[in-house]
Structures are given as C-alpha cells and as structure tokens.
Symmetry: C2
Subunit: 314 residues, 2 copies
C-alpha cells in the first residue's frame, strides 16, 4: 500500500490537518464565457487553500452567492494548475449544499464526490502520480443484536420482525447510531423493540457481509452481544415486531424457523451456559484514545491478569 493510503488510522488526516496556509491567486483567464460575471470580491478569498502534512490542499468554499460557476471554474482551474506545479498531491473542496451550483464546474476539472452529508459535500481531485491514493470514506454500517439470556430460567428473548423474515425468530437489534458503542446499541435496540431492560456482558460473534442492499451497497458488520436481563415483562413495539417471547434456549438452538446466525449464537450460548461463559465471550475493556481524547473500547478473549500486567506501558 502506498503512503497516502497507509497507516490505517491516520491517513485521512489529509483532509483536516492544518499546516501552512497556501495562497493560490487565481489568474484571470482570458476569453471567459460570455455572460460570466467576474466578481473581484469573491475571487479575493474563495481559493484560500490549506496545506496538510500529506501534501494535499484543502479549500473551504464559504458564502459565494455572487460568484458564478464559470468564474469559479476559471479560478479553480488556474489554482489547480498552480498546486500541481508546486507538487501538491491532492485537492479537497468542501462545498456547502447551497453552493452546489459550483460542483459541476469542479467535476468538469476532474473532481469527484468523496463524501457528502446533510448540508455539505466534499470533493476531491488527485494530483499525484498514478492512480489516486486518497483514503476512502466509511465503508461499513454496524448492526448490533442483543441476545438477552436469563441464566436462572435458561430463557432467551426472541422476536419476529414485522417487516421481513416473517415467522423467523431472531434477536432484537438494529443499526448503531453515529458515535454509539456496540453494547449501547444492543441495550437500546432491545429496549425499543421489547421493553426489556438489560446490561451488556460480552460480544459473541461478528459477521461481515459486502454489497449489502440494506447498506446502500456498502458493507455490513453485524455483531451479536450477550446481555443480562434487568427486567422481564415484555412490552412489544408494534411498529417493529409481530411477536416477542422468552424462549427456552435449547428450543431456539434447534428451531427450524430461525436464521443461521441466530441458531449459531443460540448454540454458542448453550455451550457457554453449560461450560462457562468464558468459553464463548469476548470481554470489553476501555482505553484512553491518543488522538481524540475520548475512550475506545477493546474486545478480546478474557486474558489472565498475570499476562495483562506483563508490561509497564499502557
């Protein structure tokens, strides 16, 4: 993998690390399109690029209501030529949705959408040698299901969907909200669908699936968590579920009307119930994150403390 796409987790800093400011004064092109309005005030500021540590230039278009697309295109063309001559690797263009009339002009110069959300789009143009090494955007949605298991009765909470897989028993679950931790999604979805309160215990399985129709063609990561019930009285969400019940775990593990992944998780739980949950669990630990100042969560098999304390670094 080449430099700009490497490093796994910091490479997209390309888009945001602020280095020195680069001023690219757009040269006025001669022979402009007829009817194009040149707006000196707009041209004075709208192509201020910021250079990042990967050698890319980032341009944020502000309020450019008086700038027409033809003038923008001439200015951007000149600026891109200058950035290319200076050896810049790429140009990022951040466009508020109300300035979208400028996007097609950038596209005509080779820019494409990198991503867009709500009120803004980010376009990118690769200037370096060979094919683009710009980092991609998010590739996965994350769905989480909660397997709420009551050890004392050996009952597990299952639902039948209203909208799909009718008559198939599965665990309540749904997609993670942005910024939501895996266990929190499981607990929230279980509560929303069934009214059952629960507590995160462990992560049981992970499924990766590509080209998913339910993910706008992107990939899907589906995670099943083991949860412990904190309440037992079901209050079914009628919008989502046809049925919900506490089912005997062995019955679910051998049921015909369930999905392969639900079956497998039920078998895992049965094994854990009989032999100890440490045989099936991935447990969670929290660490401080270097870059964000937040915390991250790490999941792996339980590790004896004697191993965890081998190192003085953490």
């Amino acid at each position: 993998m080449l430099p700009l796409r490497s490093g796994g987790h910091l490479r997209a800093l390309l888009a945001r690390v602020r280095g020195a400011e680069l001023w690219a004064a757009p040269r006025r092109a001669s022979g402009g399109l007829s009817g194009a309005q040149d707006s000196p005030t707009a041209e004075a500021g709208w192509l201020r690029g910021e250079v990042d540590r990967f050698g890319g230039v980032s341009v944020r278009l502000g309020a450019l209501d008086c700038l027409d697309a033809a003038t923008f295109q001439r200015g951007l063309h000149a600026a891109v030529q200058q950035w290319r001559a200076e050896g810049r690797a790429a140009v990022w263009l951040h466009v508020p949705i109300l300035q979208s009339r400028l996007i097609a002009a950038a596209a005509a110069l080779g820019f494409g959408f990198h991503h867009a959300e709500a009120g803004a789009a980010t376009l990118a143009l690769w200037l370096g040698p060979g094919p683009s090494r710009l980092p991609g955007y998010a590739t996965h949605q994350v769905g989480v299901a909660g397997a709420v298991f009551d050890e004392s009765t050996r009952k597990i909470l299952v639902v039948q969907d209203r909208n799909k897989l009718k008559n198939m028993w599965k665990f309540p679950g749904g997609l993670s909200e942005p910024g939501e931790d895996i266990g929190d999604t499981a607990v929230r979805e279980v509560f929303e669908e069934t009214g059952i309160q629960s507590e995160f215990m462990s992560l049981l399985s992970i499924r990766q699936q590509h080209s998913h129709p339910g993910a706008f063609g992107k990939s899907d990561m589906y995670i099943i968590c083991r949860l412990k019930p904190r309440s037992f009285s079901i209050a079914l969400c009628p919008h989502e579920c046809l049925r919900c019940e506490w089912m005997d775990l062995a019955q679910l593990a051998t049921a015909a009307n369930t999905t392969p992944v639900t079956s497998r998780a039920a078998q895992l739980l049965l094994y854990g119930h009989r032999e100890g949950f440490e045989k099936i669990d991935l447990t969670m630990e929290q660490f401080p994150a270097v870059y964000t100042g937040l915390f991250y969560k790490l999941y792996h098999r339980e590790l004896p403390d004697s191993y965890k304390t081998m190192t003085g670094v953490d």
Copy 2:
C-alpha cells in the same frame, strides 16, 4: 426504534426496492422566477418517481442539460406536495454530479445530502411525521492489522511507521478496501508493507473508536488478526515503514515503545502460544447470504461440532 429505521439490515431498501411506478406530473407554478426557461420536454420525464415498499419515493435525475434550476425547483415543489398528500414517507433524489446545479434548488425545499460518491449524490427529504426515520449511511471504516506469528521461533513480525508513531512497534496493517474481507485485508497489508506472505488463522481483537480524525470524523473499527507466515524474508516498503523485524514475542509483550493495543495483542498471543490458540482465537466460517447471493463470514469462539449440528437448519 421506529419502523423505517428498524430491522437493522434491510431498512435502507427504502432507497432501492422498486415498487409500482408513480407519476407525479408537476403542475406549472404561476408567477415563476423571471428568466427561468420552461422546458416542456424536460418536464415530461424528469420527476418519474418509483415507490418503494417502505412508502418512500425515489427519483433518478438523468441528463437534464436543458432544464434550469428554477424550473426544476417549481416542478419538484409541486411533486413533493403531491407525494406528501399521498402519504409518502420520504423522497430520495439521485443526482449525477454534472447535474449538481439542481442540488441547491432541492436544498431550498428541505432536501439534504444523504451520501455521495464519485459521480453521484443522493439527497433525501423526510415527509413523514416527527423527526426523520430514514436510515443513515455507512458509519465505520474498518482497519485491519496482521499479527504474523512464527510458532517455531516464537517471533512476531513488527514494523515502525514512517508517518506516525515513530519508534513505536506495531503490527503491519491498514484500511479495508471496499468489499474486502477482514482476513484478506490483513494478508494484503502485511505483504505490501513487509513483503511477508501469510495465511489468515483467526481474529484476535476488535477496537471501536468514534469521532476519529483519520475517518473524516466517522467511527473506526480496528481488528487484529492472527496470521501464519508463509515466507520469512523481509522486503520493507520504504514509503510506509522505517523498520521491520521479527521480534521475540515476549519482548514485544513487555516492550515500552509500543501501543496499548499492540501490547495487549502480544500478551494474548503469548497466552495462546503457551496454553493453546483456542484460548484466544475467534475462528471464521462462511455462510451463503440470503439477499446478495454472495457469502458472508462469521467469526466467533470455536464451538464443538456437537453443538453446531444440533439444528437441521442452516
């Protein structure tokens, strides 16, 4: 969770399931903007909406080179009023990048970007009651590292990055390409960075981190795989790595100049090497996917065969 956002994995079908075709003839608005050109040919076809099974309408804008933004806005406004009156839940607008001049007009009617990539953007407008229940777009990037462990010598393959975390030992790795399986990313990244060929054995740990600067503010899933070496002679990628070596596993597990997650994975591997890898591994199994006709991969703790064969369904 409410209907449109439920179901975890099929809900975004909203955008693509083709139901009956809906014809929304845009009524010509009176008192149009001065200078707007009405183009009867364009108005005849550009607002053909397709209704999906969730009650949304999907509109694909084709080549509309002769349609000006004001005319588009009047027509879209009338169509949205009609769809709203018919009880449609949402409108999806698929816009080729070269038609981006129409985006601001849609934004003025309340549309926002849902996502965009390369040559097209998808906008959405929620018409149902209450806050939007439209499914979100991909929320996570997935990074994968390969812990290539040579059992016979107890050596593990480690690198020092060129671009960040200098002098910190870590496992080679990087972001998954779209559609790439976790284990394939690990093997590919290890080869690209170090020239070492390897084979996927298991998944060791998963880290979830939010608001990640290297993910354009999205979330990051970082997965470490256990790999078995197939070659041993290092050919360092000079663009990515400062150093690469086969290090004794116990040395890495106690090293000061490494990351917390690398330390933890080294400790896990040491535990597995001493007590058996079944103590630390999540193993992989492949299943046929119902919706895509592809296969998906499922990772969980090793489960005795007697449990896997409990059910006749798979």
